[in-house]
Assembly symmetry: C2
Homo-oligomer: 381 residues x 2
């Protein structure tokens, strides 16, 4: 990439839920004050009708696109967000915020609890996907946006997409849930629980009170290693690593023999440098609690005119295509306009970050229709 084209972006911070106005969470507990870290790309038009809310997955953050000053790597979905890209910032105003419970600038377990002057740790209340969306709603209100042109996200981002339509159907023109589910299956809960157990089994976790003393690195790394296996497919791992050895022969010891072992260790070790172990616990729990099956998808009395594009990937075994098909089925039962696309990718769950060309094609087309149908084809900043 030539540095000429680099778009420098900055993370902004929005504070709300100040004393007396705390956010009442799904658990009944209150949280406040709350900071949301967020970024925006492109410009909001005069009618404020071109806003797209991008929602991140488990380990994502507000930095979805562009470069932070001095950084070598762009945001996590830069391939999809920018001038001329799927979410064309010449046309759309794109917003991404870090979820509450996170550790990338939004209020989470590593934030200082104003009541104690020390990090919340496990004193942080359990948050749900619905709570994350409530916080985002405050941000959207703050930005003066009455209705979102689109909400979009993969994996846990897709859960937030579904929750947005469930909570505020009148506020969402179109929705793109990618590689996601109406609720976690037993197997998905099981994988999350193994990750949590790995963190909590690490004596350095100290019941969550490790701040200032160093992360439970070994446990969190193991959790991330398990995660990475589930994000790839059998096929993509075979293609990338097969049985390739780091050295010429077996070591006949417990050091790293196979390249895939080295890769997982590298990913695990890297993760602990950038992610808070308690946030990992809170966010996976939010995913496990998420359940919009049955009547919860659209509470009675509510009506959704939202148009859906539901995307799944053939080799994704963590969020198998049948779960996306179930979303479509549930939407259609409620007479909600939904298009289903299953992309023949071999990348597994990671495909939502990697199948840029296919996704761009689908999403551009889908958004264009939305944008022109509503007569918002002219871009006014």
């Amino acid at each position: 990439m030539t540095k000429k084209n680099v778009v420098i972006v900055e993370t902004k911070y929005f504070e709300f839920a100040k004393p007396g106005k705390e956010l009442v969470l799904e658990s009944g507990q209150k949280l406040g004050p709350i900071t949301l870290a967020y970024e925006t790309y492109g410009g909001l038009n005069r009618q404020k009708s071109n806003a797209i809310l991008v929602l991140h997955a488990l380990s994502g953050d507000a930095h979805a696109a562009g470069f932070h000053k001095g950084d070598e790597k762009p945001g996590w979905w830069d391939s999809m967000i920018g001038p001329g890209k799927a979410f064309d910032t010449k046309k759309y105003f794109v917003i991404c915020s870090n979820v509450i419970g996170g550790c990338k600038g939004s209020t989470g377990p590593s934030s200082i609890n104003p009541k104690t002057g020390t990090p919340y740790a496990l004193g942080f209340p359990i948050i749900t996907i619905s709570d994350m969306v409530e916080a985002q709603k405050h941000l959207i209100d703050h930005l003066g946006i009455d209705k979102l042109l689109c909400v979009v996200g993969g994996s846990m981002g897709g859960m937030q997409v579904l929750q947005w339509v469930s909570s505020y159907p009148e506020k969402v023109t179109s929705a793109i849930p990618i590689a996601t589910a109406l609720k976690h299956s037993s197997q998905q809960i099981a994988f999350d629980e193994v990750g949590r157990q790995a963190v909590m089994a690490d004596p350095a976790w100290l019941d969550g009170n490790y701040y200032g003393k160093g992360q439970p690195e070994r446990g969190l790394a193991v959790a991330r290693m398990v995660g990475h296996i589930t994000y790839m497919s059998d096929q993509s791992m075979e293609k990338k690593f097969s049985r390739k050895l780091k050295d010429k022969n077996y070591s006949f010891s417990f050091t790293t023999d196979f390249e895939v072992e080295g890769y997982l260790k590298y990913r695990g070790d890297n993760f602990v440098k950038r992610f808070d172990a308690n946030s990992y616990l809170y966010i996976t729990k939010a995913m496990d609690y998420f359940d919009l099956s049955g009547k919860k998808l659209l509470p009675s009395g509510k009506k959704a005119n939202t148009r859906f594009l539901v995307i799944a990937f053939k080799s994704d075994w963590l969020y198998p295509a049948y779960q996306s098909q179930e979303i479509v089925r549930q939407l259609k039962m409620r007479y909600i306009d939904a298009t289903y696309c299953e992309i023949k990718s071999t990348y597994g769950h990671d495909a939502f970050l990697l199948e840029v060309e296919e996704e761009t094609h689908l999403i551009k087309h889908f958004l264009n229709r939305e944008y022109t149908e509503d007569g918002y084809s002219e871009y006014n900043i």
Copy 2:
């Protein structure tokens, strides 16, 4: 089960590789003396032609069938071995031995190193599937058996089956590898490595020197939890647990909410009571090193008249059916008689222990043919 039918069995021990006659391992290291724990069921006929060697999986042991005195539970494959069962002990002499590297009576890392008077721990040499088979060969010789009527096993047991034919084709009349592979894929290695990392991340592991101080329980439990997810299928977990809660409502804490979480913890905690953490490392490493692809399946100059029955299970995603199909393909390329059966089970990898009816049907038929064709239909003890 009525106690009347209970068959009481005892584990026996065979010692070999005494000073000066140590077993030379694949790594080049020597191991000795070696104890093999083994059990036998039924009687060896006069011709010594009715012997079936049963080979166990990762966490199995020599106690495949019958009851140990006072025990409530029978051996791990009791449903398949006994009078009138698939491996009919009225006809066959069934042998099962604990692998070297194990912790159920055979020499492994928890055994006393005669040179130091303390447990081997990581001083135990890395062993391979081929080394396990070499040790079994000594036992078979000791029992005076020149040729095995059948070698059979699932998962790692199936690897030993394949290794037996590779090492001693002339000693094996028929072979039944179940839910196994010619070599571990990248994903299979990855899951094993995560298990090993979970064990080694536990500070109680003490670089393997935990004997007398207590196991690295938390790490080994996490390893086993990951394992259990891979042994079941998405479908079987959904059927067994779905999103069932332990209590009526979400706890909004990090205690056990879902039944599947409780189940995994229970299985993890139980495992650490009965299995040695270092054995877990050694045995998974042996599985990862196993590779009979290409010319290694039948070294040049060797000929196999062994007849194969290769069994796979539709929902087994840890040892997917395509790996069994590859075994069949490789056998047929070598003009070896192989029948392939894919059982439509929903149990995942666990199916090899659970699909008793289907397996019994297939195996009885397969063995009967062998037994009568060779004129050994009369049972002589």
